[in-house]
């Protein structure tokens, strides 16, 4: 495949949500055909400019996925699959992007707060953020407040995303923010919260920077904070 064919194939496979050759995608008989990972590797070997892979392959693919979602042709699982495929190759592209002088949109630390086992929403946010070009570190579920703060100290993220699904556990969000303040870690960090019982009012009350009602809002908010476009861009 030529460079432009590879870019076009990457775009197509983002639309198919195919991370690698084992993925079935949406259309029939795709198993065994190269997916986004294999195509990006081949493009890098063939010295296709990383900028072109990112902009005309991955980003353009995600843009088209977003457009299909807006038109109700695509659904959340399609968005997630595409974002997962893109997120998976972002790590591969990272050293090349650094070489070209392109910096990551930023590091995002994610956690479900203490005593809360719910992680579907947090995982979706993680996949979507990776797909949008953020570096994501996921601390998992029921993470003790002290562990979250230690991870912030160690990872030095730009953003901290806290998730809670229970009104009994959401108070740990406030504890986390208070402890970050105590340790002098709060000022360089944007704290974004989400989860069913949370609200913009609650975010304001506990001193979070933003509340996001869903994964799209999370990507949009993070993009705005990073100075970029919305979820589709």
């Amino acid at each position: 495949m030529s460079g432009s064919e590879l870019i076009s194939a990457i775009r197509y496979n983002v639309l198919q949500g195919r991370r690698d050759k084992d993925d079935e995608g949406l259309e029939d008989d795709l198993v065994g055909e190269p997916g986004v990972e294999e195509l990006v590797k081949e493009a890098l070997q063939k010295k296709v400019p990383v900028h072109d892979i990112l902009l005309h392959g991955l980003t353009e693919g995600m843009k088209q996925v977003g457009e299909k979602f807006e038109k109700k042709e695509y659904f959340i699982p399609d968005m997630l699959s595409a974002a997962e495929a893109v997120g998976a190759v972002m790590e591969t592209l990272e050293p090349y992007l650094l070489q070209e002088g392109t910096t990551s949109k930023g590091k995002f630390l994610l956690a479900t707060v203490e005593k809360d086992q719910h992680d579907i929403g947090k995982n979706i946010v993680g996949i979507m953020l990776k797909g949008a070009g953020f570096h994501v570190v996921d601390l998992g579920i029921s993470v003790p407040t002290a562990d979250i703060v230690t991870a912030v100290e160690k990872e030095k993220p730009d953003y901290l995303g806290l998730s809670a699904l229970l009104d009994t556990t959401m108070r740990h969000m406030q504890e986390t923010i208070s402890l970050l303040q105590e340790k002098g870690l709060r000022s360089d960090l944007k704290v974004i919260i989400g989860g069913a019982p949370t609200s913009p009012e609650f975010a304001g009350k506990i001193g979070a920077d933003a509340h996001c009602k869903d994964a799209f809002a999370a990507v949009n908010t993070a993009n705005e904070m990073a100075g970029g476009g919305g979820a589709n861009g």
Binding site: G17, E24, F75, P77, D78, S81, E84, D119, N123, G126
Partner: protein
């Protein structure tokens, strides 16, 4: 057979009656047929029964009426010759229906000759607690049904995905339509506006040959019509309790003589013209239908007849037919099982609301009935679209809602797909997902989502904290009614109008 028509939905039937109970009801019906027997006001039919060995005596109650005591062996003999498979044709062969007494394949259809149309209009109201808040609510108006409504109902029915066959849902009461021109107008209005199977009763027996001629012109000739009966008939032969009515008996005998498919129906009312108790009701209606089946087979062995059960319950504050009562559905399920016990195709009933307007009551009454009667596996489930107010009113918007709900019922009835291939695929998916950090199966839902087989969302839901269903249904109804349909070719209509008198020019 070189075609396969509409798929319908084949169910794994719910068995309300056990085998022993089916036999008990059969025996009870046989007892009724021999004592008191049936009353019959049709001389030729009395002669047919007499010749076959039934005990026929003149009734003392009314002149020109006979009492016929039918021995079980005559009934069993009739059930031997009554076909277990009847094919109903359609202008578009893809819409053919195969009714097989041994296969519980369900088709949903409309029905049946209401006098009123319910118009639904959305009007804006101002909230009394918040004058800035404008809300839209449906305002309903009832009016007399006209032939233009029947044409529109057929166009709507053509486009309703889950409507498998069509029975005129509205009585045509135009001033320029007389008793003797009603049949030709109603059949033409249906057949010119849809390509699905059309069923109807006959208003005037003198019009039977005109209707059959219309079918012959549409299909290409007498043989073609027999191969592809684009229309069939419904005769309510029985007047409950246990009487074969003269005019309808004459219609039935005339229809089977012409080798056209016909439903032999009975519609007793539990609590007034039949026992209210389930077993009594079912024993009686079963006896009534079997009496008609027996007569049909004695007159023309092999006649294409369909077991037509329309048992209803009396509403006790006005003795109207009642369809929302749970007992109505129980009666109907039992009849479906009786028809299958005899390996006969079954025309059953469900999905009528007693409610006067679309809404919560109508939906509850209809959906319980659509689902429950369907579970028994009738072949033709009529009355299922748009009927309100105990079948007195037809509402286009309600028919669109019913189409949605029937689609959901059909999905519920789909059999599970348990195969080694499916198991292997699913286990593979679970293992793959367990190897991911996020443990999400969403990716593997996509093929299903895009197959068109997955329920995505209730199509009429609104986005506000207010019921927007009717506004959305109204918009959808208007959209469907604006869609074109495949009318009869001009040459066909020309020939129909040239040969068959009485059809109004304005419905061409």
């Amino acid at each position: 057979m070189d075609f396969f028509g509409r798929e319908g939905v084949t169910v794994n039937p719910y068995l309300r009656l056990r085998d022993k109970e089916l036999k008990t009801i059969h025996s009870a019906s046989m007892e009724l047929l021999s004592d008191p027997g049936i009353e019959l006001s049709h001389e030729e039919a009395a002669g047919i029964f007499d010749k076959a060995g039934a005990t026929v005596t003149k009734s003392e109650r009314a002149k020109g009426t006979w009492v016929v005591k039918i021995p079980e062996k005559l009934v069993l003999q009739a059930l031997e010759t009554a076909p277990s498979q009847v094919t109903l044709g359609a202008r578009n062969p893809e819409h053919k229906l195969i009714l097989d007494g041994e296969t519980p394949r369900v088709y949903f259809g409309s029905g049946s000759e209401t006098n009123n149309i319910l118009d639904t209009n959305l009007e804006e109201f101002t909230s009394t607690s918040d004058p800035d808040k404008k809300l839209k609510f449906p305002v309903h108006k009832r009016r007399r049904g006209m032939v233009a409504d029947l044409c529109a109902a057929a166009r709507l029915g053509e486009h309703l995905e889950h409507l498998d066959f069509f029975i005129r849902p509205v009585n045509i009461q135009d001033d320029d339509i007389s008793e003797d021109s009603k049949d030709v107008n109603k059949f033409y209005a249906c057949l010119n506006n849809m390509t699905k199977h059309v069923m109807a009763g006959l208003t005037d027996l003198n019009q039977l040959d005109n209707i059959i001629r219309m079918g012959e012109i549409i299909t290409g000739g007498p043989e073609q019509l027999k191969e592809n009966p684009v229309m069939s008939f419904i005769t309510c032969v029985n007047k409950s309790p246990l009487q074969l009515e003269g005019d309808s008996t004459e219609k039935m005998l005339s229809i089977i003589k012409r080798d056209m498919p016909v439903v032999l129906s009975s519609s007793p009312q539990g609590g007034s013209s039949a026992p209210i108790d389930e077993v009594g009701m079912v024993a009686q209606i079963n006896a009534e239908i079997l009496a008609a089946v027996t007569l049909s087979q004695l007159a023309h062995p092999g006649a294409k007849v369909i077991y037509g059960s329309v048992p209803v319950r009396a509403r006790m504050d006005n003795l109207h037919d009642m369809y929302g009562a749970p007992e109505f559905n129980q009666y109907n399920i039992d009849c479906v099982q009786m028809a299958r016990y005899y390996k006969m195709p079954c025309y059953s009933t469900g999905g009528v609301a007693d409610a006067k307007v679309p809404g919560i009551q109508a939906t509850a009454e209809k959906v319980f009935s659509h689902l429950y009667v369907c579970m028994a596996g009738p072949h033709l489930l009529h009355y299922a679209f748009g009927l309100l107010e105990e079948t007195q009113t037809f509402c286009f918007e309600q028919a669109v809602l019913d189409n949605q709900h029937i689609g959901m019922v059909k999905t519920l009835m789909q059999p599970p797909e348990v195969s080694q291939d499916n198991v292997s695929y699913s286990l593979d998916v679970v293992r793959k997902v367990m190897n991911t950090s996020h443990r999400l199966f969403a990716r593997y839902a996509r093929k299903r989502i895009h197959s068109g087989q997955l329920f995505l969302a209730y199509p009429f839901e609104g986005g506000e904290i207010q019921d927007e269903t009717m506004a959305n249904v109204k918009a959808e109804t208007q959209r469907i009614l604006a869609e074109p349909v495949d009318h009869l070719p001009d040459a066909t209509s020309d020939q129909i109008f040239a040969e068959i008198p009485g059809i109004l020019d304005r419905i061409r």
